[in-house]
C-alpha cells in the first residue's frame, strides 16, 4: 500500500492522468491488482467501471501477475512472415501454457505483442524486456530450461 500511495500522490486531479497512473501501477506491481484499482477509483473519483473500461481497452494492461521470466513474442508483420507463430507454438508446448498465461510455479509467462520495432532482425522475442533477435524454434529448448 505504501508503494501505491506514492503513485497516487502524483495525481493532480486531472482526467488525463488516469492512463499514466494505470501505467505506473502496472510498472510497480507488474499487473493491475484489483485493490489498487479500487483505491485509484477512490482517489480520482472516476468510477471503477470506467477505470476498468479504460484499462481493458488498451492492450498494455494485464490483470494477472507475470512470471519471473516474462516472455513476449513479436507478432508484427515482419516477425509473422519469418515464423513467429511457430515460436509461440514451440514455447506453448515447452511450457504447457497458452499465450496470455503463466506457469503454475510462476516461473514463466507468455504474451504475444505487436511490433517491437526490430523488424529488420525478425523474428524477435523478449525475455524480461531484453530482445532476442532472429530467434529460431529450435532455440526454445535451450532458452527455457524447464524446472519440473
Amino acid at each position: 500500500m505504501q508503494r501505491l500511495k506514492k503513485i497516487l500522490k502524483s495525481y493532480h486531479g486531472k482526467r488525463e492522468d488516469i492512463i499514466p497512473l494505470l501505467q505506473d501501477v502496472q510498472e510497480e506491481y507488474g499487473y493491475l491488482p484489483e485493490n489498487a484499482l479500487r483505491e485509484l477509483s477512490k482517489v480520482t473519483e472516476v468510477s471503477e467501471s470506467q477505470i476498468y473500461g479504460i484499462a481493458t481497452f488498451y492492450a498494455q494492461f494485464r490483470f494477472k501477475p507475470k512470471g519471473r521470466k516474462h516472455l513476449t513474442v513479436c507478432t508484427g508483420t515482419a516477425c509473422h512472415v519469418k515464423g513467429s507463430e511457430q515460436i509461440i507454438e514451440a514455447i506453448q508446448r515447452r511450457l504447457k501454457i497458452k499465450e496470455g498465461e503463466t506457469t503454475p510455479d510462476h516461473e514463466y509467462s507468455l504474451e504475444a505483442v505487436g511490433c517491437i520495432g526490430c523488424c529488420s532482425l525478425a523474428p524477435c522475442a523478449m525475455i524480461n524486456g531484453k530482445v532476442i533477435s532472429r530467434i529460431k524454434p529450435r532455440q526454445i529448448k535451450r532458452l527455457l530450461p524447464q524446472k519440473s
Partner: protein, 616 residues
Amino acid sequence: MNFEKLVQKAKKEYYSIFRGEPPAILIGSATCGISAGANEITKVIEDEITRKNIEARIIPVGCIGSCYAEPIIGIFKNNKEGVFYGPVNKKLVKNIIKKNIIEDKVAKENILGTIQVKETGTRGSFFESDFMKLQSRRILRRCGLINPEDINHYLATGGYTGLLKTLEMGADEIIDTIKRSGLRGRGGAGFPTWLKWDLCRQSNSKEKYIICNADEGDPGAFMNRSLLEGDPHSVIEGILIGAHTIKAKKAYIYCRAEYPAALEKLEKAINDLDKIGLLDIEIVIKKGAGAFVCGEETALIASIEGRRGMPRTRPPFPTTKGLWGKPTVINNVETFAAISLIFQEGVEKFSSIGTESSKGTKTFSLVGDVKRTGLIEVPLGTTLRRVIFDIGGGIKNGGNLKAVQIGGPSGGCIPASMMDIEIDYDSLTSAGAIMGSGGLVVLSDDSCMVEIARYFLEFTQRESCGKCVPCRLGTQQMLLILDDIVQGNGNPEDVETLHEVAEAVKAASLCGLGQTAPNPVLTTLKYFREEYVEHVMNRRCPAAYCRELMHYFIDGKQCTGCMVCSKVCPGNAIVGVKDEVHFIDQEKCLKCGSCMDVCKEGAILKVPGPGGSIES
C-alpha cells in the same frame, strides 16, 4: 551564452570526434543495434581499452540504416576517414581494436565502408555502397553519426537554425514556405501540411495545441522509432516551429510504450533544450498504452484526454475542434523532421527532389525476405524495383520475389510484375495500396498471399475499437472466411462473399481503420485470385505455407540417419535411430521447419497438402 557562441563551441566539440585524436569509436546503439548485441560489444570495447590502456572515446549513436549488418562500429583515428565494420562480434571487435587503433591499420573483416564527417558534409565509400548509393539521406542525415543524447551534436550540425529563422518570420511566410516545399504528411494519408497548419492558424481561439503522432502502430514499420532514437531534436525542432506558427503554448508527443528508448531520448532532449533556454512552450510526453487505433487522430486525442481511444466522425476536424475541443495540429514524427529540414537547408533543396505531386524523400523500413533489411530513405518517385533489388540486394536465399506488402494493415500487396511502379502517394493508391507510414515487407515465393491477408484481418479485427458496426462485424466476418480458407474448409462461393463484405466495410466504416482494413484482402483478391481458388477448390496451399495444407516429409533416399534433425526438433516429432531413415510423426510436428534448416542432406521436403498420421 548567445546562440552563435553555443554553436561554435558545439562544432568544435563535435567535429573533433572525427579527427580521431584521441581515437573515437562509434557504436550503433539504437534498439535494433542493442538487440543485435551492441551492449555486449560496448562492454568488450570498454574492457579492452582499459586493459590495453588505450585512450579512446566511445560514442553511442543511433541506427545508420544498415540493420542487416548490426552490430555496427565505426573507428576514427588520426584524421583519417572512419572505417565502419559490421556485423561485429566480441572476437572481431578485439581484433579491430588491435589492428585499427593500436597498429593503425585497417582490419580486414566485415568492412562496410569508410565515412568522413566534416562541416562541409559527409562522404566516403560507405555512401557509395550498393545499399547507400541510390538513397538520399536527408531526414536521416544525422542518424548514426551523432550521439542523440548530446544536444551539442545537434547544434553542431545545423540544429535549431531552422527554428531561429522561423522566429523572424511571420506565420504567413512560414506557411507559404511549407506550401512551396510541397510537403505532404508522412503519417500515411499525405495531407498537405501547409493547409493543416493554415486551417488551425485561422481558427479563432486563444488556446491551441500541437501534437506529434509517434504511435507507429503499423506492425513491421520502425522508421519513427529510428528517427526518434537517432535524432530526437530534429522532431522537437519541427514541433517548436509548428507551435510558433499556430501560436500554441503546449505540445504533446504521443509515443508508444513499446519504444522505451525513444521515450527516454525524447525526455532527455526536451530537458537539454530547456537548459540552453530554447524551449519556450510546454512539451508533454504521453506514453501510448497499446492500441493501434490510437494512431488515428481523433482516437489519439481521446487517449490523451484520458479516455478509451475511440475515433469520432469528422468533421469537425481537429484543426477546428481537437484536444479539449480546441484547435489542434496533429502531424507525424517524420513530418516534423521534414519541417526542420526545410527551414535548416532551404525550401529549394527540399523540393528539388521527388515527383510533381510528391516532393522530397521518404523513409521506409525494408524488411521481410530481402537480403539487406534496414531503414532507408529514397526520393519519392523511386521505383519499387530499385528499392528491393538495388538497395535491398534482392531476395534472400536465392528465392523469387512474389509481392511487396506496403502500408501495413491499411495497405496492400503489390505483385512482382508491378515493380516498376513509382513510390508516391498517388501511384500507390491507384494500385490499391497506400503509402502508409512506410513499412515495406518483401515477400518471396515461400509466402502465401491468402495467409498474409488473413494475418492483417486478424490484426484489424482485434484492433477495431468496435464503435461502428461495419468495421466491428465486417472485419470479423472476413476473418472467419479467411480462417476457413487457410484451414482448407473454404467453399467456392467464399471468394465472392469476401469481396462483397470487403467493399461494404470499406464504404461504410467510421474511421480510417475500417475504411482501409479491407485493402489487404482486396489487393490479394485482385492480384492473386488463383491462390484463393487453389485453396478452396483443391484444398492446396501452392506456397506450402498454410499449416493445415502442408506438411514436412523426409525423403528416405536422401536421409542418412544422422539424427541432427531429431535433436533440434522442438516437438520431438522425428522418429528414428542412428544410421537408419527417420520419419516425422505428423501429429507431433509443429511445422516449424527447424529440421529443414539443419539437414545437410536436403532430405527434408515441404509438401503442399496435409500429411497422414505417420509417414512411411
